[in-house]
Symmetry: C2
């Protein structure tokens, strides 16, 4: 999506360790009018898939998921992150490693918000190693629901997550796919 | 707001210790079309205040803040919660006790997202003891920006937060104000 690539080039900040910081429009400050345009694009891509629910993960997925869901007229469910592995109650859980933070979180969704028969679109801000997305897919499948696809704002295509998830037969649509980035020169190239 | 009071009566679950659970439409599953109606109401209430930024706090404030902000055509900034008190970098911070969880979080916003001259509307899902809202107000004032008001989805008016913040001269508009609730009978009354 050209609009997004231009925005990443303009406002993205590169850091050591493959860090691409887009916190001025995506995940700290949120440019809501801009994210509405991304939401419309996700709707264009997935409008004929019978989506009845959007799943994301706190915190930075929630904004783009909500602004997308309004074009589908479906609810959003967000998975919660928990440090504890002792989760009680009627919930689906998955374990998610974070390379960025060097931690493992348990992600949790209450059973009653994912049902057999649900056709779930997963929305998230980033796809890099694919661990969060794998966890979200597990939650949906544990519920007996179907993943119709994943809509990602920015895929770091030089990291293995996108290929990994696509090789499992899941449709992944990333609005921007970063082929390479160079923190020293500030250059970013897209696929 | 009648629509919201009816929804709370229909879908809210009462629990011991003044717990009002509305996770089926507000803070785990999000009824996006419904929250758009709340957003329009916030816009009606604050449209003439020159709001140029909406501030909220992760995670459950983000959905309603984003869906509200699109009617103002302004960005959302969400404060992040941190367990650590050692925050580095150019940030504003405040300490927030959580009665519900018995913990204290440091909430953080990057300096560059709150500027002198900003006219900030704070949006949050709940107001009970007012600690989170006090923290958010502190962040705005530390930045030399102005709080034009706070838009709250559900105020537990039998807890002290609303009175406390209003007594400090901040305009607080709550779309539903719970006067009392009874976990045994399931009754909820509104102001």
């Amino acid at each position: 999506m050209k609009l997004l690539e231009e925005r990443i080039r303009k406002d993205g900040q590169l850091g050591a360790g493959n860090v691409l910081k887009v916190d001025c429009f995506l995940n700290h400050q949120i440019d809501v009018d801009f994210l509405c345009e991304l939401g419309k694009e996700f709707e264009r891509l997935f409008h004929d898939c019978g989506v009845n629910k959007i799943l994301t993960i706190e915190a930075s997925g929630i904004g783009v998921a909500c602004l997308t869901a309004q074009y589908f007229h479906v609810p959003v469910v967000f998975a919660k992150k928990s440090k504890t592995t002792n989760i009680f109650g009627d919930v689906y859980t998955a374990s998610v490693e974070s390379y960025t933070h060097g931690t493992t979180n348990t992600i949790v969704v209450a059973n009653r918000f994912l049902q057999p028969g649900d056709r779930v679109l997963i929305i998230d801000d980033f796809l890099a190693n694919g661990k969060a997305l794998e966890g979200l897919i597990k939650l949906v499948r544990d519920a007996g629901a179907e993943v119709v696809g994943a809509g990602i704002v920015i895929e770091k295509a030089f990291q293995p997550g996108g290929d990994l998830i696509r090789s499992q037969g899941v449709r992944v649509e990333s609005l921007a796919r970063v082929a390479s980035m160079n923190a020293e020169t500030g250059e970013i190239s897209f696929i």
